[in-house]
């Protein structure tokens, strides 16, 4: 179990056994259930999973942004730059938010305040955290807009969100996140709301900005294509738990967890002659309706009797790989199942 091992010393961010609960009319649900991972300095970790698997909530816990009725359970530990985020006083926490760890939101349409110009929004971040004067903050904002690839930044800075395109708005969001040079970027589906061509540009921008500043990044996405391009390591989440973690090349070469395998099979490939896209049958069950043993069992092609009786632990596979699946102990079953599937088709 990784849940109890001590964080590596070079980690910028460590999550240990993070659990988020929500009190609902139907009882307490646990949409994030014992998540642990580390991000080293300068590293990008991609957190992958379907909608509703708890990846965004996990990201929100890092800056303690969970609102009531949600709560981060006792026993969860989050270390950021050696400080325990969950016990920090509010004031210190606020000085981390935006300054040392900045978040980039999914929807650039709604995450910018419609009554302030692009430059004012960036300057606002500067003025929140530093004693910079109005004009100093403005100068930094304009420079930052130029740095995120916006042409004629001094004109764009005076424009309001509704006067900017979706791609430009997201660049403004990125500028807001980068302006104080944070050591951690948390990007929650940063390109999902954008056109594909713009997506690629912005991912390049994020990667370059991150590398130039030596920052770490937690990249939340459901798009494995994005993962391959941008991340060094991947954590796959399913139903509130991490089911597999691996370096990106190793993961793509040989996915260990059946869910990861399913995600990859569902990825459309150039040159593939199949007419229909492969899908994973069923959907993520809502929190509270999770199977008691393996949470993926009812959608899994390999599932056998053990999977509905005994919850698989997160097996350590060496080389920084983990998998939460009984197949680790009974690999023969994978081969057998693949053989039958091959014979059937």
């Amino acid at each position: 179990m990784t849940a109890t091992h001590t964080p590596p010393t070079d980690a910028l961010l460590s999550l240990r056994d993070v659990r988020v609960t929500f009190r609902t009319a139907d009882g307490v649900i646990t949409p994030v259930d014992g998540v642990s991972f580390d991000i080293a300095r300068g590293e990008t970790l991609a957190l992958v999973g379907e909608s509703g698997c708890g990846k965004s909530l996990t990201a929100l816990t890092i800056l303690r942004l969970i609102d009531a009725p949600g709560r981060i359970e006792a026993g969860s530990r989050i270390l950021f730059e050696g400080r325990d985020v969950l016990t920090l006083p509010d004031k210190e926490l606020r000085s981390i938010r935006g300054r040392q760890a900045a978040m980039i939101f999914q929807e650039p349409m709604t995450a910018l305040n419609p009554v302030y110009s692009a430059g004012e929004q960036i300057a606002e971040v500067v003025r929140t955290h530093t004693k910079a004067s109005r004009s100093e903050a403005w100068t930094r904002a304009v420079a930052m807009l130029g740095a995120v690839g916006i042409s004629s930044p001094d004109i764009r800075a005076k424009q309001f969100p509704h006067q900017l395109s979706g791609g430009m708005r997201q660049r403004v969001m990125i500028a807001m996140a980068l302006v104080l040079g944070p050591s951690l970027l948390i990007a929650d589906e940063p390109t999902t709301a954008l056109v594909v061509t713009i997506q690629a540009q912005l991912l390049d921008l994020l990667r370059e900005a991150q590398q130039a500043r030596g920052a770490s990044m937690l990249l939340i996405t459901h798009d494995l294509g994005v993962v391959a391009e941008s991340a060094q390591r991947v954590a796959v989440m399913y139903a509130g738990q991490i089911v597999e973690e691996a370096p990106v090349t190793a993961l793509f070469a040989a996915p260990q967890h059946p869910y990861t395998e399913g995600l990859m099979a569902a990825m459309p490939r150039a040159g593939s002659r199949r007419e229909r896209l492969t899908t994973i049958p069923g959907t993520v069950p809502p929190p509270g309706a999770w199977p008691l043993a393996c949470r993926f069992a009812d959608r899994c092609a390999y599932a056998w009797s053990r999977c509905t009786i005994e919850a698989p632990p997160l097996h350590q596979l060496g080389h920084g790989r983990t998998s939460r699946c009984h197949l680790v102990e009974e690999p023969a079953r994978r081969v057998a199942a693949q053989a039958t599937a091959g014979a059937a088709s």
Binding site: A68, S95, R97, F105, T110, A111, P114, V125, W138, D154
Partner: protein, 291 residues
């Protein structure tokens, strides 16, 4: 490098739409014209508002060249009194509305940002306050007092009038505080106070301005009513309300005494409500890009 320009595109658009709307332009001209008139008028008027010119010969003189609006039962010049009373009435209304708007906005912001329990307690208090009939309450409060100074009258009126604003602001804040940009501001390290001042206040300003404009008409009538009932502005100081009150006794023989301030009162109330409506229309499109 250029300096940030402190304009809001929405406000600029609103001003443009407002000046293109004839109703709003007329209403604004009426309000400004009357304000100007009562500001400089008393200095130009040929008579002092409280001067009893000749209590034997000049009682109830109908409007004429010498007394444009006639005189009253004490032979005072009605024009001078309407101008001087207008000062008090308009000043009273604007200052009372200013105070009640500030109080209402602060309470609304506080309740809107507070947790569910505190919000519920504050808003039930607001409900209770709003359910008390205003005129009756003010009458009960002011009638036993021998002499109420004007500033105290303003405050009592204001403290019975902030409930609507508080409700409005609280509702807007509740709606806006769950938007992405407020979450984003929170995630970027802004404190609650900063979020309230920098992100929420600009958004509630529009609707608050509309209610306040409408409230001016309401308060000016309230003042007239209170003065008419004898608990408002005290004689000999003129206000539109007490000039009307003085004139009602002699309505059949000297109708001009009540009609002149009555006409002004109606003009202000109509203009304020027309301007408030115009302002609402001008601010409505894109005032808040809520999604």
């Amino acid at each position: 490098m250029s300096e940030p320009r402190r304009y809001r595109s929405d406000w600029r658009g609103a001003v443009q739409r407002l000046s293109a709307d004839p109703r709003s332009v007329v209403a604004a001209s009426v309000l400004l014209g009357l304000a100007l008139l009562v500001a400089v008028g008393p200095m130009l008027a040929p008579h002092a508002p409280n001067a009893q010119l000749d209590i034997t010969k000049l009682v109830h003189v109908p409007p004429s060249r010498a007394h444009l609006l006639g005189t009253d039962v004490y032979s005072r010049d009605v024009l001078a009194r309407v101008l001087s009373g207008g000062r008090i009435s308009l000043l009273f209304a604007t200052s009372a509305v200013l105070v009640q708007t500030i109080v209402g906005t602060c309470v609304g912001l506080f309740a809107g940002l507070a947790g569910h329990r505190i919000d519920a307690i504050v808003m039930r208090g607001v409900d209770a306050g709003a359910s008390v009939p205003r005129v009756l309450f003010l009458l009960a409060l002011l009638a036993p007092l021998p002499h109420v100074p004007l500033w105290m009258l303003v405050l009592t009126v204001a403290f019975t009038g902030w409930f609507v604003t508080a409700r409005l602001v609280r509702g807007e804040v509740r709606a806006i505080r769950t938007t992405e940009f407020v979450h984003a501001a929170h995630a970027l390290g802004a404190s609650r106070l900063r979020i309230a001042m920098r992100h929420l206040l600009p958004h509630v300003l529009g609707p608050v301005l509309v209610t306040s404009t409408l409230a001016v008409g309401h308060v000016i009538v309230l003042e007239a009513g209170l003065s008419w009932l004898g608990v408002g502005v005290q004689a000999p100081q003129a206000s539109w309300g007490n000039i009307i009150a003085d004139g009602t006794e002699f309505l059949s023989i000297a109708p001009w005494v009540s009609l002149a301030p009555g006409f002004c009162l109606v003009a202000v109330v109509l203009a304020a409500s027309a301007f408030g409506d115009g302002l609402r229309d001008a601010l409505a499109p894109g005032q808040l890009a809520r999604t």
